[in-house]
């Protein structure tokens, strides 16, 4: 696609917990973009086997310059022996009587040997959390190091986990480049002690060909469908969301809130739905794959993001690309995407009464829904395309190598 550039292809290692997954399509987009541009990409996944059906489903099997490495040494005594032989000193240094510590030290050492085996120009850690697990051996990784900050690990754990801010500070010192998904997050990271020069922003993007209004089946004459997509964790704000629904029902009855996603918060949700007697107005549809989610967007009338913490929510970009009017809480980087009453609606974070008011307004006004949907699509086409997303990464990788 972009082969006639005047630079040689790079070898880029991307380190993630698992690859590929349904929910983290930004990694898939990133990998596909780099492969298309002719770079060698090695994805290091920290789980056993990656699902081959998913690899195919995302069309990743078409790229010859993509390697997926799975870090699973539990079945590889040979590897462990090899490490012992090549770096016996480590074991003396790290020797403790605690088997668990010992095992995790061995595990990380093995991971690093394997990272270095592929001799990448750049090692890009997909989350600051996964980079932290390598922190004490960070210098042993050859090549430039980059870390992505996406929200939860910094916004939430930075507050709730003791010692996390100090560890992040150390990580930001040791790494060469820090990627943030929004301006809001960049500000936060700099407050944590990251050098401004190291930080760059690459907002997420979405595939505007795949997500388009072409297949929309939405119908304004039946029960209005309000859609939310995301794991059932407290960050997604489904509790304030439910309170908003209870409020909305007082003035408007003909709606159903469809929640796609799975997670540990389910008991709380199901109980609260019963308590608020919202059983007829809320439908928990569980985890859905990419195509199923697309079908949900296609028939929804409104997209609702009541999150209390976000980097930038990819699902909102997808919904906007599908010309869905969005009601979003003003959390994290969401205001960098949505301008209130222009291409969506923004409400103060946690303010469930204001969510209900915005939803009510949209439920009443089909014209406004259409208008916001059209503008939403335009906004995504202008600022959140994969082309832009790929360019920013490529540019940053190249400048890092030239240093």
């Amino acid at each position: 696609m972009q082969k006639n550039r005047n630079h040689k292809p790079l070898r880029i290692g991307i380190i993630v917990p698992q690859f590929p997954t349904y929910t983290e399509t930004f990694f898939v987009n990133q990998v596909a973009g780099l492969c298309k541009a002719g770079h060698e990409v090695i994805v290091f996944s920290h789980t056993k086997q990656s699902e081959s059906s998913l690899v195919k489903g995302f069309g990743l099997d078409a790229y010859k310059n993509l390697t997926i490495v799975n870090f699973d040494f539990s079945t590889m005594p040979l590897e462990i022996l090899k490490t012992l032989a090549t770096s016996p000193l480590l074991f003396f240094k790290k020797f403790t009587f605690n088997f668990r510590n010992m095992r995790s030290a061995v595990y990380r050492r093995l991971c690093i040997l394997n990272l270095n085996k592929y001799a990448c120009d750049i090692y890009h850690f997909g989350y600051s959390g996964i980079a932290l697990t390598y922190l004490d051996l960070f210098e042993k990784i050859s090549g430039k190091k980059m870390v992505s900050c996406r929200g939860t690990a910094e916004n939430v754990l930075g507050i709730t986990e003791t010692g996390r801010p100090e560890k992040l500070r150390e990580l930001f010192k040791k790494t060469d480049s820090i990627h943030c998904v929004s301006n809001a997050l960049a500000k936060k990271i700099i407050n944590f002690g990251a050098l401004r020069e190291k930080v760059f922003i690459n907002q997420p993007a979405t595939d505007i060909q795949l997500f388009s209004a072409k297949e929309n089946t939405r119908d304004a004459n039946t029960t209005l469908k309000i859609l939310s997509v995301g794991r059932m964790v407290f960050q997604k704000g489904y509790m304030p969301g439910l309170l908003a629904m209870a409020e909305l029902r007082k003035s408007f009855d003909n709606f159903i809130w469809i929640l796609a996603g799975d997670g540990p918060g389910n008991e709380e949700l199901i109980f609260t739905i019963n308590l608020l007697q919202l059983n007829d107005h809320v439908s928990l549809v569980g985890r859905k794959n990419k195509n199923e989610i697309k079908a949900l967007y296609a028939e929804a009338n409104i997209f609702f993001l009541p999150s209390v913490s976000e980097g930038i929510a990819n699902v909102v970009l997808e919904a906007m690309a599908m010309e869905l009017p969005v009601v979003s809480s003003d959390c994290g980087g969401m205001r960098e995407v949505i301008t209130h009453n222009v291409d969506g609606m923004l409400c103060e974070n946690y303010d469930f009464n204001s969510y209900a008011a915005a939803l009510f307004e949209l439920c009443q006004d089909e014209q406004k829904r259409k208008q916001l949907g059209k503008m939403a699509r335009k906004r995504v086409e202008e600022a959140f395309t994969l082309a832009r997303f790929d360019q920013v990464y490529e540019k940053t990788y190249l400048s890092l190598i030239e240093e």
Partner: protein
């Protein structure tokens, strides 16, 4: 209490805390604690390896069958007249072998197992229905709980209510806290979604907007701590809230002595014992109408009630207590009176004793 009345009691459990035991039951001789875990059950099985053999079942796996039978055998060795499953979840765990236990059976319904678990899983509904059929009597901690489980029982006659009780002698205020301008709000209970702490931040936000000088102390820990801490920061309430962690009985009593108001923002409850304790300590309480709480408290008389999620009303109640010392005083005094007369151990034991006695005179329920 049952021991004091001359009954002999055996408690089956998986862990034993000897120190707490000596603390709570000094010099009690007719109490026996039997550990019921894999090791003790195996020991019994070794002595009588043929138990469970008649359970041989080609379809199911052998081990659980033998385990269940051996467990029932361990219990039967005590030759109890009555077996009381203190939680319906434990009763369900015993369901397979409940017919093998030779005693009258009572099961208690106290809260989460009935309020949440039954909503979650259809399978659980069937098991619960079976359990209610197989036991002789069903104990509920409140009328509200009776309503919750009624759809699962064809024999409402088996169900009886016995409210919890607390030790009013122990939970007695020794010193009176001087009321100053600053309000100490206390909550005690695990930090799980049930207790509604993150939601209660809306209440605290409102109090802050009203310029009330206050501290909210929460004693307890649990799996919603991360969410709670995060939201405390987000709401800008770090200076107003103290997460005190898990506290012992003495420490809880001390916290209650230093509090001005007790706050229970729960989404659901059977009946919250901590509220009874706070009332016994003459604290004015602000409580959500969760589960059986509305049966305990008469609004305006011995406590203040508000709807779950009605944060405005909850905050309003706390403000009223802050602004009206006489009302606070009255609520506290009446609260202690209420607990002394209605939620004392004497009443609770008498009801259980009567149910147990009656059971001994009736034939066995369906096996």
């Amino acid at each position: 209490m049952l021991c004091n009345r001359g009954h002999s009691v055996t408690v089956f459990c998986s862990e034993k805390n000897q120190r707490l035991l000596d603390d709570l039951f000094p010099g009690v001789t007719n109490l026996d604690i039997k550990l019921l875990n894999k090791a003790t059950i195996f020991k019994n099985w070794m002595m009588f390896p043929f138990i469970g053999m008649n359970q041989l079942n080609i379809r199911g796996s052998l081990m659980p069958q033998v385990y269940y039978a051996a467990r029932a055998f361990t219990i039967n060795k005590v030759k109890a007249d009555i077996i009381h499953f203190e939680f319906s979840g434990i009763g369900i765990d015993f369901l397979e072998s409940i017919g093998n236990i030779r005693a009258k059976k009572v099961v208690s319904c106290r809260g989460s197992a009935e309020k949440v678990k039954l909503l979650m899983y259809d399978e659980r509904k069937n098991l619960f229905r079976k359990l209610l059929k197989k036991v002789d009597r069903v104990h509920c901690v409140s009328q509200d709980m009776v309503q919750t489980i009624l759809p699962y029982s064809d024999e409402p006659g088996k169900i009886f209510v016995n409210y919890p009780s607390i030790d009013t002698g122990y939970f007695m205020r020794n010193k009176r806290k001087e009321r100053d301008k600053h309000l100490n709000i206390l909550s005690v209970g695990r930090v799980t979604f049930q207790k509604g702490y993150p939601n209660a931040l809306f209440t605290m936000q409102y109090l802050k907007q009203q310029d009330l000088s206050f501290t909210w102390i929460i004693a307890g820990s649990g799996n919603a701590v991360e969410e709670f801490i995060f939201k405390i920061h987000e709401f800008g309430l770090t200076k107003h809230i103290i997460l005190a962690g898990t506290k012992s009985r003495e420490e809880v009593k001390e916290l209650m002595e230093n509090a001005d108001v007790f706050y229970l923002p729960s989404l659901y409850e059977g009946v919250a014992n901590v509220v009874l304790e706070a009332m016994s300590m003459e604290l004015p309480v602000v409580v959500t109408k969760s589960g059986g709480m509305a049966e305990v408290i008469e609004h305006g008389e011995d406590g203040l009630l508000a709807d779950v999620f009605d944060f405005r009303a909850q905050a309003g109640h706390i403000l009223n207590i802050a602004n009206d010392d006489d009302m606070a005083e009255n609520l506290g005094r009446n609260a202690r009176k209420k607990v002394m007369t209605k939620f004392n151990l004497e009443i609770q034991t008498t009801i259980f004793e009567a149910v147990y006695n009656e059971l001994l005179q009736t034939p066995h329920a369906e096996k």
